[in-house]
């Protein structure tokens, strides 16, 4: 148990924080119910995928500044392809967009490996490229989406045998998030590839000397990041019903949640669970501040302060631990 706590201490702490926040929310707004939780889950969905995209790359010792732009591009592509098309056509669009994200992510990795330009610069350049591509696909917010995709994340999951009261607390969006992340992350974590990703993040030289194909692993890490970002883009289109070519605030949010989630920015440490919980924490803080009727601008300041304070605290703890 103590071993588990030591290894997962950060995530357990985050969970505790999340529960405290939930309690605080119900105190602030006694009427906070399953509906509000559903909308929280829907709001979290694109953020969570953005964070997953960032997490994979950060664990592999890199950083991806193009996450938000990738989401914008995949979102507008999906929205413009599905606009006015039949419901069945969406069955083809979904895998196509996901494959596009995967391929563009792989391109990110390939460029880093081949040109040997630092990852920050490559993904910065790709940020411009993807943003431009998104503007070429749709120059103003628009497009459409199949109804069944919209329905996929709204409402709750009816599980037979459970009372409605419990059912109501299981929004579909949460289920979609958990399924999508688990299907990719759990097999990856247990595979040789997952180990390689952690290895190159921890020490590239040591990984290389132990026979890990460093270049290939790096490319795959970025490809996975692209795939998660494509999920995020789809989630964005699913929740708004349209595609917007201007990237949202997902880059900053993803980096913040990754750090808050206990993933070291040097790489090699942490998991996916922490950052995802961190996203919920950050969103819930925002909900609470809105419920308290605080000026949205002040909310932005408080969010920033929390982020900086958490990061400083985390860095301080790591420093103490090292001494």
């Amino acid at each position: 148990m103590s071993h588990f706590l030591r290894r997962q201490g950060w995530v357990v702490g985050l969970f505790a924080l999340l529960i405290v926040l939930f309690i605080a929310t119900t105190i602030i707004q006694p009427a906070y119910g399953s509906n509000d939780f559903g909308s929280l889950a829907r709001a979290v969905l694109p953020y969570a995928f953005a964070v997953a995209a960032q997490t994979v790359v950060v664990i592999a010792g890199g950083i991806d500044l193009s996450v938000a732009a990738m989401m914008a591009l995949t979102s507008v592509t999906a929205a413009s392809m599905m606009n006015g098309a039949s419901e069945e056509y969406a069955l083809f669009v979904m895998p196509f967009v996901l494959a596009m994200g995967f391929a563009l992510g792989a391109l990110n990795g390939l460029l880093i490996v081949v040109t040997r330009v630092p990852d920050i610069v490559v993904t910065l350049a790709m940020l411009f490229v993807l943003q431009g591509a998104a503007l070429l696909v749709l120059d103003a917010p628009g497009g459409g989406i199949a109804e069944w995709l919209k329905a996929l994340i709204s409402g709750t999951v009816p599980i037979p045998g459970l009372p409605d009261a419990v059912d109501a607390w299981l929004p579909k969006a949460l289920l979609v998030l958990i399924v999508c992340l688990c299907v990719i992350w759990i097999p990856l974590r247990r595979s040789r590839l997952g180990l390689s990703i952690y290895a190159i993040g921890s020490s590239e030289l040591a990984a290389f000397r132990s026979g890990v194909p460093v270049k290939r692993t790096r490319i795959i890490a970025y490809a996975l990041s692209g795939l998660f970002a494509a999920f995020g883009g789809l989630a964005l289109t699913m929740s708004t019903g349209i595609g917007a070519p201007i990237p949202g605030p997902y880059l900053l949010a993803s980096v913040a949640a990754v750090v808050l989630g206990g993933v070291a920015l040097g790489g090699g440490k942490g998991g996916l669970l922490g950052p995802i919980v961190a996203v919920f924490v950050l969103r819930l803080v925002r909900t609470d501040l809105t419920l308290l009727a605080i000026d949205p601008n002040v909310t932005a300041i408080i969010e920033g302060l929390i982020m900086v304070a958490v990061v400083m605290f985390g860095a301080f703890i790591t420093m103490r631990g090292r001494q």
Binding site: P118, V311, M312
Partner: protein, 328 residues
């Protein structure tokens, strides 16, 4: 790039040329700049005249100063993404406070947030050892929030651009933009500081090998705090200059300059991992990016295509430049 085409015919000469370029990394950059200007002249004959040059320099200067902030922070292995917000805040406060304050007081008020943000950045990076990328992103988020709250309080009093800043930002005297009066001493100071002073050497040392530097008795946090305050103050000054150039205070005035400023420093040959680079390259990098933007505007491409090309060119130039420098 253009040189590799010559090398097959005369190998010794080509190799000598390559070595020359590796030793003097500024040469390929200047060549690239000239090539861009020539392309521009071919596409629009007669565009390259005195007025155009003055205009280009005018728009390159704010970018070059911000890229100077990036150069200095990147030398220590850091990055300062809060420069855009700092510049915007200074510009906005200057424009709103000048309405009913003495210019000197308004200037001091405008520079205060810059110093404060720089101090917080420095303490976060230097003392708490937060990653500079996160730290500066965080402070810029807070800064933007504060600016929005501040904007509410001054909405009634309005804003105006001080004549002096407008003169400095847009004025041209004998074909030279007035902004050079500010930029030339500033650039000289940065180059001098980096190359000839102890502080400059400390920046290189910290970026090259932090552990060794600390073991040699350098107070890491003092160097870093001083660095980020300097960077922020420079960004604040840029904001004042930029508002004189753009003449419309807004809440995202200098924000679009942030990523290009990183690109300019990288194109100019400063290593993002620290310890290598200089300011002269960065200035040429800023000029290259400004000319490039003009070029892409003149081609009348849709906005999307322009951004794609911009990204690709930044990537290509950086990659090619790394190749040349690594030849040595």
């Amino acid at each position: 790039m253009s040189t590799s085409a010559i090398s097959p015919q005369s190998v010794p000469f080509g190799r000598r040329l390559k070595r020359l370029m590796a030793d003097r990394p500024l040469i390929p950059l200047v060549i690239l700049l000239v090539i861009l200007v020539v392309i521009l002249q071919i596409l629009r004959p007669g565009i390259v005249n005195e007025r155009w040059i003055a205009n280009t320099i005018k728009f390159a200067i704010p970018l070059a100063i911000l890229a100077g902030c990036q150069t200095m922070t990147m030398l220590t292995g850091g990055i300062d993404l809060s420069v855009g917000t700092v510049a915007t805040i200074s510009a906005f406060i200057m424009a709103t406070q000048i309405v009913n304050q003495d210019p000197a007081v308004a200037f001091l008020l405008a520079m205060m947030p810059a110093v404060l943000i720089g101090l917080v950045n420095g303490i976060g990076v230097g003392v708490f050892r937060v990653h500079p990328l996160i730290m500066t992103l965080g402070t810029s988020l807070i800064g933007t929030g504060c600016l929005q709250v501040y904007q509410r309080t001054v909405i009634a009093s309005g804003a105006k651009i001080p004549d002096f800043l407008a003169w400095l930002g847009t004025g041209v005297t004998w074909g030279f933009p007035n902004a050079l009066l500010l930029f030339v001493p500033l650039a000289a100071l940065i180059v001098f500081t980096l190359a000839r002073t102890g502080f400059g050497r400390l920046l290189y040392a910290v970026g090259d090998n932090e552990r060794a530097t600390r073991l040699s008795g350098v107070q890491y946090w003092q160097v870093i705090t001083a660095l980020y305050i300097t960077s922020s103050v420079l960004a604040g000054i840029t904001g004042l200059l930029y508002i004189g150039l753009i003449k419309a205070p807004s809440l995202s005035l200098a924000e679009p300059l942030v990523l290009p400023s990183v690109a300019a420093a990288v194109i100019g040959g400063t290593s993002i991992f620290g310890g290598r680079g200089g300011y002269t390259g960065t200035i040429i990098g800023a000029l290259i990016l400004t000319v490039l933007t003009t070029l892409l505007t003149i081609l009348q491409m849709p906005e999307g295509a322009r951004r794609i090309l911009f990204g690709l060119i930044v990537l290509f130039v950086t990659a090619a430049y790394l190749r040349i420098v690594e030849e040595r």
